[in-house]
């Protein structure tokens, strides 16, 4: 649920945590993302960093430029404008993905775990848009969840995490999909691989000229299944620095989406 009044908490002398509620609902998440967008736009003196999550916003501030109490007031002002939220800006980003085989060694087992065929598992994961609720942990690392109740493919989380996951691996843990944007340990089932990773620290590809990180919280993702020929083609394009992601600017109509979910 969304609290009537958010909780404001200390994170040492440089961080404020605004907790808006205690669940991972899309409305809760949209509210946090929108508060973060407005906070960033308002360029308040002393605000250094912010991390929107499913139900909270972490803000780093310079205590010599703004106090905890004044920052809290600013956030309260911003929040009063987003109480009745109908829609938020939301891009649609297409991510080419190859499922299964050596590219996603846990995919066949995941299909079996969900009692569906491999073809059906691909459909479940790729046919509808998925929601980027949080980008964080390590650079450009998104937490992605389905927007439709009937589209959920479940991934089994490893009992003991792997010490290494190759860059570009797509992991599924529960209904949450993530991209391994840097090689890290991991525990999500490895279901596929993306030849174009939406994090480019060297900023070599055209989409990364302004920022090394492509995805933002509030984006929607369309997974596009590809075969080995397409994979090789995209890899070549990445090497030649020609590859471009298919990105559409858009609006996520939250209230309409909620009506759909309720079957209205």
């Amino acid at each position: 649920m969304i609290y009537d009044e958010p909780r404001y908490m200390y994170g040492g002398d440089q961080f404020l945590i605004m907790e808006t509620g205690n669940d991972m609902s899309i409305r809760q998440n949209c509210m946090v993302i929108e508060i973060n967008r407005l906070l960033t736009e308002s360029k308040i003196k002393g605000v250094l960093n912010s991390q929107p999550t499913w139900r909270s916003l972490l803000v780093q501030y310079n205590p010599f430029e703004i106090s905890f109490e004044d920052l809290k007031k600013e956030l309260e002002n911003i929040r009063s404008n987003v109480k009745q939220l109908d829609e938020i800006p939301s891009r649609i980003v297409e991510i080419p993905i190859i499922y299964g085989g050596k590219w996603g060694p846990d995919f066949e087992a995941t299909a079996e775990y969900n009692k569906v065929s491999v073809e059906k598992a691909i459909e479940l994961h790729s046919s509808e848009l998925q929601w980027v609720g949080l980008v964080g942990f390590v650079p450009g690392h998104p937490f992605v969840r389905p927007l439709r109740k009937d589209q959920k493919l479940h991934g089994k989380i490893y009992d003991s995490p792997r010490t290494y996951t190759p860059l570009g691996t797509i992991g599924l843990g529960g209904i949450t999909t993530t991209f391994y944007t840097v090689a890290t340990p991991g525990g999500y089932a490895m279901i596929g691989y993306i030849p174009a990773v939406p994090y480019d620290p060297a900023q070599l590809l055209p989409d990364f000229q302004k920022s090394a990180i492509l995805l933002r919280a509030g984006d929607r993702i369309k997974f596009k299944p590809i075969d080995v020929d397409e994979l090789n083609y995209i890899r070549q394009q990445v090497i030649e620095r020609q590859f471009r992601f298919n990105i559409k600017e858009g609006i996520f109509k939250l209230s309409e989406w909620e009506k759909e979910q309720r079957g209205e």
């Binding site: 440089q14 972490l58 905890f68 990180i213």
Partner: protein, 328 residues
């Protein structure tokens, strides 16, 4: 701009650290920068730079370095058993060197990290607004990584003629002695309310020991099992009572997976994660965190935001020329 040093033999973990990287936290990029801000900043002031200029952060075991051009350097932070052309030298002082001189940084005899500052600072590209290295994300510093044999770094233009930087030292009262600080000041939370009251009490009462697993992302401390109150778990959280819905993690945030240990997150913090945090170390004490060595023992003490600010202000006032003296 000229080539100033070559790494002849790499140390345990040496990286370029300068100013903090702000504005990208919400996409998974931490602030990075020096683990011991105080020693880093005063080292720069000592060699005539602005406090957050780029210098080298060395960890426990230092590198062997060859100077490629004339410069002035200083070592601050932990006490390193350094030798210049095989002659022992002192930390917290400036030394003038010429091309061909060899500096062996040795190893630290008290804290964990030292800083090698040079006149003009190291000249590395500014990535996302910062010169600091964030090695796990391949960002910043020298090629986005820790230094290795054969690396050659350039220096920036010194604002002060080298002669004027010779024979300088940090005044005794401004020398930071990492071993003298064994209390870490914290604020409780963001999730202290999830722990049993007796565990919060014990957390403050006991001494915690630094475990051998420490790096720029986090420092682990062991002491006692912390217990959580029972609560109704959200189906989207992990199963353990120490799991919460993924939440932002502040620098200094202390995660406690299964209540078994504390992981105090440091300058290369992972920006979000699903563990409860009992408290957060304040900026003042993050210098101490940056100097902890395996086996060190610390206690935690709660502090108000006002006191934290005062302590920090007092310390930061020392990055000033007033505390630079001449030595014989």
């Amino acid at each position: 701009m000229s080539e100033v040093i070559e790494i002849l033999k790499k140390g345990l973990q040496t990286s370029v650290q300068g100013n903090y990287r702000y504005g990208y936290f919400g996409q998974g990029i931490p602030p990075s920068g020096p683990m011991d801000e105080y020693s880093h900043h005063i080292g720069n002031v000592l060699v005539g730079n602005k406090p957050d200029a780029a210098s080298l952060e060395i960890t426990m075991v230092g590198d062997r370095i060859k100077f490629l051009s004339d410069t002035v350097f200083a070592i601050t932070g932990a006490n390193f058993s350094a030798k210049l052309n095989k002659q022992p030298i002192k930390c917290w002082r400036t030394y003038r060197v010429k091309a061909g001189d060899i500096l062996d940084l040795g190893f630290s005899t008290n804290g964990c990290r030292g800083y090698l500052s040079i006149a003009g600072g190291f000249n590395v590209p500014v990535v996302m607004g910062s010169t600091s290295t964030y090695a796990p994300g391949l960002v910043g510093g020298h090629k986005g990584r820790y230094l290795i044999e054969g690396d050659i770094l350039e220096s920036g233009e010194s604002a002060v003629p080298l002669e004027q930087l010779e024979g300088l030292a940090v005044a005794d009262e401004a020398i930071y002695k990492p071993e003298s600080e064994r209390t870490l000041y914290i604020t409780l939370g963001p999730q202290a309310d999830l722990y049993k009251d007796e565990s919060v009490k014990e957390f403050f009462d006991i001494e915690w020991e630094v475990s051998p697993i420490l790096n720029r992302t986090g420092v682990r401390l062991t002491g006692t099992q912390l217990y959580f109150k029972d609560r109704i778990k959200d189906p989207d959280e992990g199963k353990d009572l120490s799991n919460i819905i993924d939440d932002g993690i502040p620098v200094g945030g202390m995660q406690t997976p299964s209540g078994k240990e504390i992981i105090c997150m440091a300058k290369d913090v992972v920006t979000a994660g699903g563990f409860a945090k009992i408290g957060t170390v304040v900026t003042y004490s993050m210098n101490t965190v940056g100097q902890l060595r395996p086996g060190d023992k610390v206690k935690f003490k709660e502090i108000s935001l006002e006191e934290a600010k005062e302590k920090l202000m007092e310390r930061r006032a020392k990055y000033s020329k007033e505390y630079i003296t001449k030595y014989e």
